[in-house]
Amino acid sequence: MSTLLACDDLSMRFGGVVALNQLSLSVNEGEILGLIGPNGSGKTTFFNVITGIYQASEGRVDYRGLDLARMSAQEIYRAGVTRTFQRSRLCLPLSIFDNLMIGNHRRLNHGLWFNLVRRAAFRAQFEEQYAQALALVRTFSESLGERLFEAAGSVNMIDRRRIEICRALISEPTLLLLDEPSAGMTHEETRELMDDILIVREHMPGLAVIIIEHEMNVIERITDRCIVLNYGQKICEGPYAEVAADRQVQEAYLGTE
């Protein structure tokens, strides 16, 4: 399987704080990669760097011949990298459909003439997008499909997470970054959500996923490979069972005696 994303000596410094320290890692096409590590080990910073929210201090992020470390967030999105956020960033007063369409930005026509005057063409695009949004949401939850025109703030936590993941998926990305999807949810809800992610993966075989997670049974269940970060450095890499048995990893999580 070919490499989709490869980081080379990626560093991110905030003043004197080194959040990422010469990190090198790669993700293959269609792979689910788990990114784990204690709090403050640089996992979310890594996401922020490869999605263009932070500009890397040093290093390259090679993705289909592009260097993500030198691109703006908008360009990275258009190149097919989308994400969810650790703390929900939905627009709660807007409808669920609106939130999905925010994620669908690159496939919508934003021309003034199209939107204001050519209402028949707008209607056609709207109906097409509605059908797709409905189909996508229904793979996650049947009942959510009937509430597309209700405010996103009116649904519960797990449905909000689902909407966030749908928002990241609707533009058909090639790389999806999930930042702690289980945060704030019960075990049961987390399990449901992971089932959803596995279903999505069946539908989109080329999709690569990087998932940051603290729930180890989630990591065990859905990842093909794991990378452990500590103080912005990679300390271990391999299948979950191997990583979990690693002495360095245990020390990073539990401390030394």
């Binding site: 999605t51 807007l94 797709q132 189909a135 025109f149 998926l169």
Partner: protein, 400 residues
């Protein structure tokens, strides 16, 4: 009989419109303070009782379902009121002013109701339009229809000076910048002798293709006040501006503006160009304010710096908050209340700003979303998702 009282029928909307028209007519007609007070209190009580009886919700649903006939009814209502006061200058002047102020507030609504760009210099942009009229209509042969467009362009153009600082600041800081601009504008007018200084300038009446708007109209024995011309013109401008704002809101552009207001980080992550949409909303909003201003100046025949104070900008902002941020209909209602009520209640004249402040505080306390809160976006009025089972191939295009 019963079918008239259902949400599917156009009757509740049209009946409400008729009642509102009659009420506005009576209110503009009322002279004595007791009559005005009586009408005000009567309206509040009636609205409260009707809301309890479920009529307001019914009328709103009916209004949404019969957009076209309801909009026509509103236009007719305004024209009817104008016809009822055909020979009285003052009520017609007030009516035209309300219509023009709604246009300004629609512009402000684009700016901070949708895109979240605060603008506490609304009166200044309105004033730029006024002064453009004074200079261009008074001292150049430019056709007056173009002067109105130039007023809008001038406001948008001068507003672009503010784009950079507004883009680089947020919240309170952005508000401070626009406040500073508003004050700067007024001081500039006061010290500038070419623009008349504190005394201001005279503005000639409007003339479009030989149609002199400042001449009274003569139909046989009946003489119409020249303000009828301005009511018709302002209504036309308002109708166009309203349709523009409505369509913008009900499109992907409206969605982008909302997204920019609500979460800039999420916008960046999904390719929405925050700066681009902020600039678009700010410029278009100022353009609308400028156009309204240039008509207003030609209607009143006079401009002076004192009409464009920070207080006036605050009133504009309070109208938008009062009406229901993001809802164009709410703006129309709020503008009418805020402009007409103090004119009619002479004894509160001195306390006008106090009234606004109290009203805004009360609304924010008890109805934080405004008089007519904004609803979830409805892209295509009348469009409904297909009921379940009818949708073509449920998961065919699921996630390709």
């Amino acid at each position: 009989m019963k079918r008239f009282f259902q949400a599917q029928s156009a009757f509740p909307a049209l009946a409400s419109m008729a009642a509102v028209t009659v009420f506005c007519g009576l209110f503009l007609h009322a002279e004595s303070q007791t009559a005005v007070m009586g009408l005000t209190i009567g309206a509040v009580v009636a609205l409260f009782l009707l809301a309890r009886a479920g009529w307001n919700a019914l009328a709103a649903a009916s209004f949404a379902g019969h957009g076209r006939s309801a909009h026509t009814a509103v236009l007719l209502g305004v024209l009817l009121i104008a016809a009822a006061f055909y020979d009285q200058h003052f009520p017609l002047l007030m009516l035209a002013s309300v219509l023009l102020y709604v246009v300004v507030c629609l512009g402000l609504n684009l700016q901070f109701g949708y895109a979240g760009v605060v603008n506490f210099a609304g009166a200044a942009f309105f004033g730029i339009g006024c002064y453009t009229s004074a200079v261009l209509a008074g001292h150049t042969p430019l056709p007056h229809a173009l002067v109105v467009v130039a007023g809008g362009l001038m406001a948008a153009g001068i507003g672009s000076l503010l784009i950079l600082p507004v883009l680089r600041t947020h919240g309170h800081y952005a508000a401070l910048i626009t406040i500073a601009f508003g004050i700067l504008f007024r001081v500039f007018l006061e010290v500038n002798d070419t623009l008349g200084g504190p005394q201001g300038m005279k503005v000639p009446g409007m003339e479009i293709l030989g149609w002199k708007l400042n001449d009274n109209l003569q139909f046989g024995d009946v003489e119409l006040s020249f303000y009828v011309n301005y009511v018709v013109l302002s209504l036309a401008l308002l109708a166009v501006a309203f349709m523009l704002v409505r369509r913008l809101e009900r499109s992907w552009i409206g969605l982008n503006l909302d997204a920019v207001r609500l979460d800039e980080i999420a916008c960046a992550a999904f390719g929405i160009n925050v700066a681009r949409w902020k600039i678009a909303a700010f410029t278009l909003g100022n353009f609308l304010a400028g156009m309204a201003g240039s008509i207003y100046a030609m209607m009143t025949g006079f401009v002076a710096p004192n009409s464009f104070t920070f207080g006036d900008s605050l009133i504009l902002v309070s109208i938008v908050i009062l009406g229901g941020i993001g809802n164009p209909w709410g703006l129309a209602v709020a503008t009418a209340i805020v402009l007409i009520l103090p004119e009619k209640l002479q004894f509160i004249q001195e306390y006008r700003l106090l009234l606004y402040a109290a009203l805004v505080i009360l609304i924010l306390l008890f109805k934080p979303d405004g008089l007519l809160p904004r609803q979830v976006r409805n892209y295509l009025p009348g469009w409904k998702p297909r009921p379940r089972g009818e949708s073509p191939a449920r998961s065919a295009k699921a996630v390709q």
